[in-house]
């Protein structure tokens, strides 16, 4: 690449000038300062959003923990009538739901939002307003789901909501709708965070941080965010099917109408098992980041850890049926999943052994974080070993749904996730607050929690062996489970006491306590380059990185950063700026301007939350009003904050580097965000495709006779029109590139009716043949496969009109046309979707010999 800049041969920095330094610092401060007073809620910077995210997640953790204590109180003695059956069923459902969806996954996002940009030496993540939006969605949805218990309508179907218990309104009430819509809403925020983090790791690395130099934490974040992208969407597809059955009676899970309850289990666990690793890997990432600091040397087997993270991520998608070993599937099918469940032990073992090997060749400084890491190892290894046991089908036939599993899952999650997280809290607390935690209290909380945990959960294995099934609200003295349960209850309260000590330690006001010294632990990663007291801008100037542990291996780096000798030391134009780099070698591509504080994201999240909540109560009119409000706020936010044409095409970034101020297509983070979001969207669609084939394999007469198939001719006409609409969108991109603004707008707006006619033809093909989604699973599936592109087309129309307006008002021009490029990318995915649907609805029945 001829025009490549050799970062290792940059001109020397300008000599230090104190006045200039002061002026630059003032300008940076003005740009990055957060709004004062109550307006702070409009803040979008990662350090604020991350902190709020973290505290909110812990609030939900505390809530779910209190539910757990209530569960333990009820089970402490046999024949207890402290809580009613109805309340108890709500308690355990909400405990599992809140721990999984409102704590375990969000806490990963929270921690990543706080430390990822700092580890990358970046000022913020590439889409700060998206982070803010995700956070507000999370808190609204979380309060909605949790609050339901105070009105006695909390979900009570167990956290995996098996159909038909959850699908038939005769067996489950409003709680299930609250669960479905509340969590779908939170899943949206998780996917938003995943997009943000993937783009963050790929495009926001500091100049020079090539793939081989990227810190392990970033690898884990990349892997986990990628997993979210492939794991959450199938559940969203499942939620959609389930809510359609509950609200409108569509026949997906009702066996009397050709549905199948097992479909839900597949869709749920395709999400649910990777979820376990989505929870586990980010916490292991924290240990992988802390351990080198305390060992005082780089991680042994850095690349082996990358291998195991990627390997675990893949294998974790081949485990889902091990939650369904007792559903009577053919033994050979079960065995494949048993094999993958065993195989995943190999990369997990490699990870653990790399940690131990690092300790072996160094002298690890004792500290509270390492104490928690050690406890994590002891607990997690135990949970992993029982995991190897339950992955064997015959063993699982005994252990499944018993307290053995309850013990196993808490060993893996608390050992694999909670203890490493607590280690991380102790490690990064000084980074976030510039104050030190009380180490004595830290040790107390560790020993209380470690002891309490084992007292609570070790006997539970035996309770399971004694035959106690999970989710029972009472048992009899003659069952012989009483003593074990009493011990578990005592342990649970000791554990809770330990957490209370930790919470008190963290929340203790330390206003007058002295600030900690900079880089307190003598770490090698970039986040510790932050000044004490910290500044809202993150780093004073964005350095060139050419080692894995820059603070250890790049001498004088911190001083150079402080003196503003590196890139973007200034904010002359009064804009928040980041450097976007390329994926492989982190070569600087352009200077990205990101949004500052805004109430628009709050408004968008509020309206979206309100529409989900109102949909729960089937108040369709106001749901639509708030839905429109969401669209309005979002468009306003996009219009005023994204793809703005810069005042100058390029700017000087320091050290002889001049960078463009605008990028479009695959150089811009926005394009990648669309690409990644649509990959997730395709995964959700694949969930529907899976459902279609699942019915076909599971039900002998799923495909009806030829006269009940949607008409081939109309499907073909619809396909032609939909592809035509796609072609017009692509044409609009080409014509705008050639400067034909009018033609481009005409093509964009012209694509609207063409697409509408196309989807209309598809609807007609099913309607004319009398397909009734409430009558048969095939009909329901066909209508769902028409509804899906119809909803996407609706979004496409909004986007087309938006881009046409951008062209009209000169915000999208023949040169600066990022908006249109992103729209074209969206429509590529839509085209792929409609072609697949055509294959399913028109070609597959023909292939199977039932077509006309």
């Amino acid at each position: 690449m001829t025009d490549e800049i050799d970062l290792s041969r940059l001109p020397p920095p300008e000599p230090y000038d104190e006045a200039r330094d002061k002026a630059q610092r003032k300008r940076l401060m003005d740009v990055w300062r957060e709004p004062p007073g109550w307006k702070i809620i409009s803040a979008v910077n990662n350090s604020y959003i991350g902190k709020w995210y973290l505290l909110t997640s812990f609030a939900f953790f505390t809530f779910a923990g209190i539910l757990a204590l209530m569960i333990r109180m009820q089970l402490a003695v046999p024949g207890n009538d402290l809580f009613s059956q109805q309340l108890y069923n709500q308690l355990f459902t909400l405990h599992g739901t809140a721990m999984m969806f409102l704590f375990a996954v969000p806490i990963f996002e929270a921690v990543a939002i706080i430390i990822l940009p700092e580890i990358l030496g970046a000022r913020d993540l590439p889409f700060p307003r998206l982070s803010a939006f995700g956070f507000w969605c999370f808190i609204i949805g979380g309060i909605f789901v949790c609050g339901s218990i105070f009105f006695g309508v909390a979900p009570d179907g167990g956290w995996f909501m098996y159909t038909p218990l959850s699908s038939d309104p005769a067996y489950s009430g409003l709680g299930t709708d609250i669960w479905l819509l509340g969590l779908s809403f939170i899943e949206v925020s998780s996917i938003a965070a995943a997009v943000e983090l993937i783009v963050g790791v790929l495009k926001s690395r500091p100049p020079g941080m090539r793939l081989n130099l990227m810190p392990l934490y970033c690898w884990y974040v990349l892997v986990v965010a990628g997993m979210i992208l492939f794991a959450f969407p199938p559940l969203i597809a499942g939620d959609l099917l389930l809510e359609m059955e509950r609200a409108f009676g569509w026949a997906f899970f009702d066996p009397d109408r050709g549905g199948d309850p097992l479909l839900w289990q597949h869709l749920f666990w395709i999400f649910g098992h990777p979820e376990v690793y989505i929870i586990f890997l980010p916490s292991i990432a924290l240990i992988a980041t802390m351990l080198p600091t305390f060992a005082g040397r780089p991680m042994v087997g850095h690349s082996w850890i990358v291998l195991s993270a990627v390997g675990v991520a893949f294998l974790s998608f081949g485990l889902w049926v091990h939650h369904m070993f007792t559903t009577g599937l053919p033994e050979i099918s079960l065995s494949f999943f048993s094999a993958a469940s065993e195989a995943v032990a190999v990369p997990t073992g490699i990870q653990i052994f790399c940690f131990i090997a690092t300790m072996l060749v160094s002298r690890v400084r004792p500290s509270v974080p390492m104490l928690f890491a050690g406890g994590a190892l002891a607990i997690f290894v135990f949970g992993g070993l029982t995991g190897v046991m339950v992955a064997l089908v015959p063993f699982d036939w005994q252990a499944h749904d018993s307290y053995f599993i309850v013990a196993h899952l808490h060993y893996t999650l608390i050992g694999g996730m909670l203890f490493p997280l607590f280690a991380g809290i102790h490690y990064w607390y000084p980074f976030v607050t510039q104050k030190a935690l009380n180490a004595r209290a830290g040790k107390w909380s560790f020993w209380l929690m470690f002891g309490g945990f084992n007292v609570a959960f070790l006997p539970m294995h035996w309770t399971g062996i004694m035959g106690m099934p999970r989710r029972v609200w009472t048992y009899d003295l003659s069952d012989g489970w009483a003593l074990l349960n009493m011990v578990s209850t005592i342990g649970a309260f000791v554990f809770a006491a330990g957490f209370a000590v930790l919470a008190l330690n963290v929340l203790w006001p330390r206003g007058k306590a002295p600030l900690v010294k900079r880089n307190l632990w003598n770490a090698g990663t970039m986040e510790w380059a932050a000044e004490v007291p910290d500044k809202p801008w993150g780093v004073r100037s964005i350095p060139y990185i050419h080692t894995r542990y820059p603070l250890w291996e790049q001498e004088g780096l911190v001083d150079q950063i402080d003196r503003g000798e590196w890139f973007l030391p200034d904010a002359e134009e009064g804009k928040r700026e980041l450097i976007v780099t390329d994926i492989l070698d982190a070569r600087p591509l352009f200077v990205q301007r990101v949004g500052g504080p805004s109430f628009l994201t709050l408004g968008a999240a509020f309206c979206l939350g309100a529409s989900f909540i109102l949909a729960t109560f089937h108040l369709w009119t106001i749901t639509l009003i708030f839905g429109a409000g969401f669209v309005g706020f979002t468009l306003w936010w996009l219009w005023t904050g994204t793809s703005l044409i810069p005042e100058k095409p390029e700017k000087y970034a320091g050290r002889g580097l001049t960078l463009p101020t605008y990028a479009q297509g695959n150089r811009s983070p926005g394009w990648w965000a669309v690409f990644i979001t649509m990959t997730g969207d395709m995964t959700a669609f694949m969930g529907l495709v899976f459902s279609y084939f699942f019915y076909w394999t599971a039900l002998p007469d799923f495909l009806p006779s030829a006269e009940h198939l949607p008409s081939f001719a109309w499907l073909l006409v619809g396909l032609a029109l939909l592809i035509g609409a796609w072609g017009m969108t692509v044409g609009a991109r080409e014509t705008l590139g050639r400067g034909q603004r009018g033609l481009s707008m005409a093509l964009l707006i012209g694509a609207l009716p063409v697409g509408a006619l196309g989807i209309g033809a598809w609807g007609w093909s099913a309607y004319a043949k009398g397909l009734d989604p409430t009558a048969q699973s095939f009909d329901a599936m066909v209508w769902m496969l028409i509804l899906w592109p119809a909803l996407h087309l609706l979004l496409n129309w909004v986007m087309s009109l938006y881009v046409a307006a951008r062209i009209k008002f000169g915000h999208c021009t023949p040169e600066y046309r990022a908006d249109l490029m992103n729209l074209a990318l969206y429509s590529h995915f839509l085209a792929l979707t409609v072609i697949t649907i055509f294959a399913l609805l028109a070609l597959f029945p023909l292939l199977m010999g039932v077509g006309s």
Partner: protein
């Protein structure tokens, strides 16, 4: 809390009879898993000890650069090769056991249908189906093939002492083979959460000698013997019990609730949860939802005094 802790403690120690214990060795299938379990337990303990021991050792010792080669071997052999070999071997062993304990044939076939929250049990005999509920009797050393279905939501059929569990799924039929090898009264449970009174969905699995089993099944196949004009039966019909319950040999042919033909021959009342006593029966009829919340059977609080006594006496005579 209803009972005082002090009353419980002695009972606790006495109460460990282990009716639901996987390790009770009461069934051939459970025994295979038990063999597997002890090996897994010892193996897991040893591996856990070695890994944690290695971590503690690594933490305590001084830095020694010459250890780098050892650490490298440690990762390769301990972290990669050893787990691969161990879990590979376990996988093969587990699959072989799985192949051995599954069977599509049995010496007798029992259909069990999961209902909210009780069990409809149907023995298939050459003379026709024998219907009962909430209690399963099996001959020792014979393989029983269970054909499992569910009517409303998913349940799971589990007799831990005899073998593994199998889900009962609406719209499907699953099968489970169990071979009891020890006589006794073993506990059965619903293992899959089925809403409401999931905790109170139990049954007794009574393993008997073949001859005793044969005579029991023969008795069970007979219609009920009711004296003509039994006042209890008249109350039974007047209160409409026959709309839901069947007593074979009478006009009570309700298909909704458990079959009551030989009700009093069962050990337990209310799907394996209360002893079959007149007191419990009377309370069950008048205060049903206090004994088992949420169930479909309505309580009959107005049924008191002599009418209740007669009805209870009638029901207790159905053996």
């Amino acid at each position: 809390m209803r009972r005082s802790i002090f009353l419980i403690i002695p009972a606790l120690l006495a109460g460990c009879e282990g009716r639901h214990n996987w390790l009770a060795s009461a069934g051939a299938e459970a025994q295979r898993v038990e063999d597997l379990f002890w090996v897994l337990l010892v193996g897991a303990a040893v591996i856990w000890g070695i890994v944690i021991g290695a971590a503690v050792y690594a933490h305590r010792r001084q830095v020694d650069p010459s250890l780098e080669t050892q650490a490298r071997r440690f990762i390769l052999w301990g972290g990669a090769v050893f787990p691969t070999v161990v879990v590979g071997a376990l996988l093969v062993w587990g699959l072989v056991i799985l192949r051995d304990i599954t069977s599509d044939e049995g010496d007798l076939t029992v259909r069990v249908d999961g209902e909210r929250w009780w069990w409809r049990v149907i023995y298939e005999t050459p003379e026709g189906d024998v219907v009962t509920a909430n209690e399963i009797r099996l001959p020792v050393d014979r393989t029983a093939l269970f054909r499992l279905t569910a009517d409303d939501v998913i349940h799971s059929f589990w007799v831990p002492a005899l073998g593994g569990k199998m889900d009962m799924i609406p719209g499907r039929e699953t099968t489970l083979a169990l071979t009891p090898i020890e006589t006794g009264n073993w506990g059965g449970l619903c293992a899959e959460y089925c809403g409401g009174a999931h905790a109170l969905m139990r049954f007794d699995a009574i393993v008997m000698e073949q001859s005793a089993f044969d005579s029991w099944l023969e008795a069970e196949a007979q219609p009920a013997e009711i004296a003509a004009g039994d006042p209890g039966f008249e109350i039974f019909q007047e209160e409409g019990c026959g709309a839901c319950h069947t007593i074979r040999g009478t006009e009570a042919q309700g298909p909704v609730g458990p079959d009551l033909t030989h009700l009093a021959s069962r050990d337990k009342l209310g799907a394996g949860i209360y002893d079959m006593t007149p007191e419990n029966m009377a309370r069950w009829i008048t205060d049903t939802h206090a004994m088992k919340p949420d169930i479909d059977m309505p309580p009959y609080p107005d049924l008191q005094g002599e009418r209740l006594d007669r009805l209870v006496a009638f029901l207790m005579s159905l053996d």
